[in-house]
């Protein structure tokens, strides 16, 4: 059988942007049926996406991280060979607190020391920010952040914690000698109550830190943008999380968002090509996605992505981790 509407699955982070693209496509070309976007989470989406080629399998995977090698192999095993990877934008992992909060100046290193389970291999005993860095206030460490099942958490790990960790030369060396151990020491988050898993609903984190000015929240940048009046971003190495700083990577919390497209479906599913093209129309600086809180990727990346939309290069599995 066949299908006459595009189907995309995957990340809940990309979901609102994909929705907007779908809506825009449906308006632009009423003859096409509106694409179906399902928010399954990147992992579950990958499983669906890689299950095979055919009408019953999704055409597009939205991802808030890069495809993993294991997933690529799974795809290949099921006959999903030609995959096009397109980076559509950025998401910032922002640190924020209530409007009336003290406004701590953070660095990745401090965050690592405050939140890692075993900073530099030793159990974390820090109770207050002062314990981490004497120049910080003696406020207790209380951070609300995303749960381990979410992409934002993965980004936190990769973009902040590991970076902070690697500022220590020993750890950097460890990376080459014992990668698994390095992952553990640098990536594991403490679970003694200083870091609180706040569930998938980022709105709740916003509410929580609003209610507790001493707490810090970690979430996708779009939430900061949307709740500007109620919370404010915290500087990281002196850089404030803003649109500009995230998109030029001066704020260290930016992570790329991708869509993966099955080449084999391009000819078979009406509207798929148009949908991908629609992304490229909306992801620019003045595009609709930026208004929704997506951070626009730097110009060179965008240029590359635009080229990818045209040329549809096939993803090379050997680059993946």
């Amino acid at each position: 059988g066949t299908r006459d509407q595009v189907r995309a699955v995957g990340s809940s982070t990309v979901y609102p942007f994909a929705k907007a693209v779908a809506e825009s496509l449906a308006k632009a070309d009423p003859s096409l049926k509106s694409p179906i976007i399902e928010s399954t989470g990147t992992g579950a989406g990958m499983k669906l996406f890689c299950a095979g080629v055919g009408a019953q399998f999704p055409d597009i995977e939205n991802a808030s991280r890069r495809m993993k090698k294991s997933e690529f192999e799974d795809c290949a095993k099921n006959g999903v060979k030609d995959i096009v990877e397109i980076q559509v934008g950025l998401d910032g992992v922002a640190f924020a607190e209530a409007q009336g909060g003290p406004g701590i100046a953070l660095t990745p290193e401090d965050v690592y020391k405050a939140l890692a389970k075993n900073p530099y291999g030793k159990p974390n005993t820090a109770k207050t920010w002062k314990d981490v860095n004497p120049s910080l206030p003696a406020e207790p460490i209380l951070v609300y952040g995303p749960p381990s099942t979410s992409g934002t958490r993965d980004a936190l790990k990769e973009l902040i914690l590991t970076k902070g960790c690697d500022e220590n030369a020993e750890m950097k060396a460890l990376k080459d000698s014992d990668k698994d151990k390095h992952d553990k020491v640098c990536g594991e988050v403490r679970d003694d109550g200083a870091y609180v898993d706040a569930g998938e609903n980022d709105n709740l984190i916003v509410q929580k830190i609003e209610a507790n000015p001493k707490a810090i929240g970690i979430f996708g940048y779009s939430y900061l943008e949307e709740n500007k009046g109620r919370i404010k971003g915290l500087t990281m190495k002196g850089v404030e999380p803003t649109y500009a700083t995230i998109s030029d990577f001066t704020y260290p919390g930016a992570r790329p968002l991708y869509i993966y497209v099955k080449k084999a479906h391009l000819k078979a599913i009406p509207g798929l090509q148009a949908f991908v093209t629609e992304w490229s129309k909306l992801w620019g600086k003045d595009g609709a996605l930026a208004k929704l809180g997506m951070v626009v990727a730097p110009d060179d990346v965008l240029a590359g992505s635009a080229k990818a939309v045209n040329d549809l290069p096939v993803l090379d599995g050997s680059q993946l981790k």
């Binding site: 790990k157 998938e200 084999a264």
Partner: protein, 460 residues
């Protein structure tokens, strides 16, 4: 041929057979007066109708599954098919497009290559449709003729039709068993895979839960200790919720059955039942947005600074409210099952209503009430939306009800809709958790039903 047409055809033929057989049976009666038919003419009708309808339907279903393969094979033999791309999805799509046009479901094709296939499709479809039609009719006729020839005045049509009815009833009730098997089958495979990666001992007895779905390398069994989840589940569902639901439910049942006037009962009983009818997603929203902040503020006001917005209390409280009608209706039933004579006996001794309830009715109904509570617990620990929306994600092993806790159902949803890949033990743990949940509720129900049964029998 659309399945609907074959279906209609089978029904039409059956109706025809029904009418024919019925009039034949009437004829028996008329011709030989004094002969009593064994079965009513209607039953003769049904007998023949079944013999026509069932084989025709079976054939129609069969034909429906094979005809499309036959049609495709026929089309592939056409020269136009050689233009198709060699293999795979595109080719399938084009075939499907051509077919859709040929069947009149679509007006044009999206790929030009499909254009040439429309005509071959038309011929093939016409051909196989007519074959299907004719064979269906033949099968129906054959069955009908066989049945029709057996009709005679003392033919036991009723017995036979009733046997068919019985078979239908039996099949219907087997659906339940199939469902149970389906549930077990859909859990067991992934569960086994999970236990291949994480030892069941670590899983069932470990006290630390922090699987990382993004981690690579061999999983650390130490991170898969599900005790905090079990604890959270029990604490929220079986302790906090029950502390709310049991007294309120039991006292409501007692008030409504023993004290309230029939007018009050008529109004209040259905009102309370509405509490059970409110969707859990609404409760979840209510818990997350209204109750949780209230609870946190209240707790902070009395000096519990660690109070979390996602406290176990908030979720448990709302869950308890949801369960009230469940407990009260079970208690109501059990109290009603205590014979009126017990109540009369006690009142005739000069006991007050309260004494009668607490000293006679409730003790006598206790097994039923306990069973009801067990069912309520199994309901509460399986509840998903409230905890997904209002309970936390942190697997705390704590007795402080104002802290955030997580539950089995929460983790199932989180893992299955999360970031991890599907071959990762963290994701697979959802199935193992589902299995545990299933087995626990199964046990609770099994015990509860046994208790109820034994105790009901005691009075019957």
């Amino acid at each position: 041929m659309s399945p609907a047409i074959l279906l209609l055809l089978a029904f039409g033929l059956s109706l025809f057979g029904w009418l024919a057989a019925r009039s034949r049976a009437w004829a028996f009666r008329k011709s030989a007066s004094g002969v009593r038919l064994h079965s009513l003419p209607n039953f003769h009708g049904w007998y023949v109708a079944l013999w026509i309808g069932v084989p025709a339907l079976l054939f129609a279903v069969l034909w429906n599954t094979i005809s499309s393969t036959l049609i495709t094979a026929h089309v592939m033999a056409d020269p136009a098919a050689s233009l198709l791309p060699g293999f795979g999805f595109e080719r399938e799509t084009m075939l499907a497009e051509a077919r859709a046009v040929a069947e009149g479901k679509a007006f044009g094709v999206f790929n030009e290559e499909a254009q040439g296939l429309i005509a071959p499709y038309r011929t093939a479809i016409t051909l196989y449709d007519s074959i299907g039609l004719i064979v269906t009719i033949l099968v129906g006729f054959a069955g009908g003729a066989f049945a029709f020839l057996r009709l005679k005045p003392d033919f036991t049509a009723r017995t036979r039709v009733e046997r068919a009815v019985m078979a239908l009833l039996l099949i219907a009730s087997l659906v339940a068993i199939l469902t149970t098997i389906g549930i077990i089958a859909s859990l067991v495979f992934e569960t086994v895979r999970f236990f291949g990666m994480v030892s069941p001992i670590d899983f069932l007895f470990g006290t630390h839960w922090s699987p990382d779905p993004m981690s690579s390398g061999a999983p650390n069994g130490k991170d898969y200790g599900a005790i905090p989840l079990f604890w959270g589940t029990i604490y929220i569902g079986a302790i906090i919720a029950m502390i709310v639901a049991i007294p309120l439910g039991l006292m409501s049942a007692i008030f409504l059955t023993q004290y309230a006037s029939s007018g009050v009962r008529k109004v209040m009983k259905p009102l309370l039942e509405i509490l059970a009818g409110v969707p859990t997603v609404v409760y979840g929203y209510f818990a997350a947005l209204t109750v949780a902040p209230m609870v946190r503020d209240a707790a902070q006001a009395i000096g519990i600074s660690s109070a979390s917005t996602e406290s176990a209390v908030a979720a448990g409280l709302v869950m308890g409210i949801m369960i009230i009608p469940f407990v009260s209706s079970m208690a109501d039933d059990s109290i009603a099952a205590v014979p009126q004579a017990m109540r009369d006996g006690s009142l005739a001794m000069g006991a007050t209503t309260a004494e009668t309830i607490t000293k006679v009715l409730v003790p006598a109904a206790l097994p039923g009430i306990v069973a009801g509570v067990m069912l309520a617990i199994s309901r509460a620990i399986g509840e998903t939306m409230i905890v997904v929306m209002a309970a936390g994600a942190s697997a705390n092993l704590t007795a402080n009800p104002f802290e955030s806790m997580t539950t089995v159902t929460f983790q199932i949803v989180a893992m299955l809709t999360g970031e991890g890949s599907f071959d990762h033990p963290a994701t697979l743990s959802a199935f193992a958790l589902g299995m545990v949940l299933f087995l626990v509720t199964l046990t609770l129900n099994f015990i509860a039903l046994r208790v109820v049964k034994r105790y009901r029998e005691a009075y019957e």
